[in-house]
Amino acid sequence: MPMSPAAIPPEEPAYEFYLYVTGATPNSTRALRNIKEICELYLPGQYILKIIDIYREPQMAQQEQIVASPTLIRHRPLPQRRLVGDLSNRATVLAVLGIDHQLPPTSIS
């Protein structure tokens, strides 16, 4: 890679998440709360989180093949991963998103 590794984090965070929600339904709000918590806890400053309300942008649902709600898509790092549900099963979420969950607790403590 021609770019220096130091230049990447501020401009292009390693993690990019898109969360597709349906308004303020309980599942959607829970999912939003969960992902925010995970990101802040495990990936502070290393992530971008976009929230898309498919009620307002229904064409996005078709474009991104959204069936279930809420759906979280990890666009970066590749490969793309999809999670459906309110993200309350944290162990699975961390495993699927490839976040080393041993690291943050140590940094906190």
């Binding site: 349906t22 599942n27 498919i54 649902a61 078709q62 069936v67 279930a68 759906t71 999809r82 099963n89």
Partner: protein, 578 residues
């Protein structure tokens, strides 16, 4: 209920959305329930998707109802390619904003479940698609694919139930397709959720021939045909062939057309059979059924009308060669395009396919007459019942189109299986001509008789006929002491008659000569008598003359005496008197 009795106005029929699919609207008496979901289930390869797409496409084309197709299995491109062969241009319809395709891609391996979820994404997509084009029709092609994508069945089931409810509330007419399960209509029991209309498609192979059948399992709030109806996937889409949809209401023609055999025409009081009627020619092997059929075809072409000839036994070339040998040249009409010969082995296709071929060829060629030679061969393809129902449909179809139909059928005296076919068909046809062997001592002759002719009286005679170089010739009836005489018997009879006639002529000549002789004798006698008479007459005339002379002289002498003659003269005078 305390309500007032239902008035006719409240008893209106369930509103229906016509599918536009051949025959299906007739079975469902108008179409699918309007604004409600319909489940179409069936095993793999029986045309569920095709039926659903045709419902959409015909809705767009014929009823101006835009449609949404949500597919869970095939991508939009694959689908468009698949149905392009049927003449459905999905891309154009999409461009015209008449159709929206949405491929829902679900892959279990890509999806992780991390808590509670619902299928709002699907609802939103569908709702968005419906609203953007104002769709009236929706197809969900194999929604069961969801079950392979998500593991939480409880959520799925409640969501699918909600989806159907939601579609109903939106007022769109929906088709949901589903794979058939073991012992159940659908693998996932979707029939529990769709309570309005369930259509079952079935694809079965009997004796190596595939027949597809459609049955309406339920149709809430409407009557419907309950039988299994054969259907076909043809070049023009799905075609369901209901037997009972055709009510006997077709108009009839009063025209008479010739059978092509003058002698046969004479046997009907109206000299031919009615246009648009159906004619059956039955006979044992080698009784010139095909020749009779070809004569009819030829006559039709000669009138300048088109004739469609289905040959199930001979190739067109063979048929033409054979008919030329009996003085019937079909080739010119074939070249002119008045005659079309469709030759195929009956076993090439299933019965339904034959029927569809007939329908399609008739639609293209628009013939005035159709010949099927022979129908009995079709028995080799299906069971008797199937053949019968197929022929019923075929005959009805031709009748409705006012096409004169002529069928030949082989019957066998040894095999009553064929006879039953004949029985089955005979009630359907209007005119039934039977040709048979009249087997005598050491020879066979062909005899022809009319068994029935609806709407006109006909000869009751069995006529012998010959297949000559100039076509078929019916011979005059010769009635001998023991009934009608044919063949060698006919010849013997003729020779005997001729001998008898010679004898009679001889006798007459002899009598004439006799008479002549007698006349001459008579004339001679008359001449004799006349001569005799003349002699006598002359004699009498001479005597009378003498008498007169004497009388005169006597008178003179008396006068002289009176004037004073001598006494002695006077005395002497009396002595002179005799």
């Amino acid at each position: 209920m305390q309500d007032a009795p239902l008035s006719p106005a409240t008893l209106h029929q369930l509103p229906k959305a016509p599918t536009g699919i051949d025959g299906l609207d007739e079975i469902t008496e108008g179409g699918l329930p309007l604004g409600r979901p319909t489940l179409v289930c069936g095993s793999a390869g029986c045309g569920k998707t095709l039926l659903a797409i045709e419902f959409l496409v015909r809705g767009i084309r014929d009823y101006n109802e835009p449609g949404v197709l949500m597919t869970f299995e095939e991508t939009a491109d694959e689908l468009a390619a698949n149905v392009a062969s049927l003449g459905f241009d999905l891309r154009q319809m999409q461009a015209d904003k008449q159709l929206r395709l949405d491929h829902v891609h679900i892959d279990r391996s890509e999806i992780e479940e991390t808590g509670e979820y619902d299928l709002d994404g699907l609802f939103i997509r569908l709702g968005y698609a419906i609203d953007t084009i104002g769709a009236k029709r929706v197809v969900l092609d194999t929604i069961e694919a969801l079950f392979s994508g998500f593991s939480n069945e409880a959520v799925l089931r409640s969501e699918i139930r909600r989806l159907f409810r939601w579609l109903k509330d939106k007022g769109v007419t929906t088709i949901i397709t589903a794979e058939r399960g073991e012992g159940t209509l659908t693998r996932q029991g979707l029939e529990e959720y769709v309570s309005d209309c369930v259509i079952l498609l079935d694809n079965r192979v009997i004796d190596q021939i595939t027949t597809r059948r459609l049955r309406i399992v339920k149709y809430r709030g409407s009557t419907h045909g309950t039988n299994e109806y054969p259907y076909l996937i043809s070049e023009d889409g799905i075609s369901v062939l209901p037997v009972t949809s055709l009510k006997l209401e077709h108009t009839v023609s009063d025209d008479i057309i010739s059978s092509g055999v003058p002698g046969l025409d004479e046997m009907f009081t109206r000299r031919g059979w009615y246009r648009g009627s159906s004619v059956l020619i039955t006979g044992t092997a080698g009784t010139a059924k095909t020749t009779l059929a070809a004569a009819f075809a030829l006559e039709t072409c000669r009138r300048g009308e088109r004739c469609l000839y289905f040959a199930f036994e001979e190739s067109p070339a063979q048929l033409i060669r054979n008919m030329r040998s009996v003085g019937m040249d079909l080739q010119p009409y074939l070249d002119q395009g008045l005659l079309r010969i469709e030759a195929a082995r009956p076993t090439l296709n299933g019965l339904e396919r034959h029927l569809v071929t007939l329908h399609r060829t008739v639609a293209q060629f628009k013939p005035h007459a159709v010949v099927i030679d022979p129908i009995s061969n079709l028995v080799s393809v299906g069971s008797l019942n199937e053949v019968r129902s197929m022929l019923t449909r075929m005959i009805d179809f031709l009748k409705v189109s006012n096409i004169t139909a002529l069928f030949t059928a082989l019957i066998s005296t040894h095999d009553d299986r064929m006879d039953r076919t004949e029985e089955g068909v005979s009630s359907l046809v209007d005119t039934w001509v039977s040709v048979r062997d009249l087997e005598g001592i050491g020879e066979r002759n062909r005899g022809l008789s009319i068994l029935k002719a609806r709407g006109m009286s006909h000869s009751n005679q069995v006529r012998e006929f010959l297949v000559t170089e100039n076509g078929i010739q019916l011979l005059d009836v010769i009635i001998g002491p023991a009934g009608i005489i044919t063949g060698a018997g006919r010849l013997t009879q003729r020779i005997q008659e001729e001998a008898q006639r010679a004898v009679q002529q001889h006798e007459a000549a002899r009598r004439d000569r006799d008479l002549e002789r007698k006349r001459r004798v008579l004339e001679a006698t008359i001449a004799n008598l006349r001569t005799e008479f003349e002699t006598v007459e002359e004699e009498l005339r001479r005597i009378s003359h003498e008498e007169q002379t004497r009388e005169t002289s006597l008178h003179e002498s008396r006068s002289a005496l009176a004037k004073g003659l001598s006494a002695d003269y006077l005395a002497a005078k009396p002595n002179t008197r005799p």
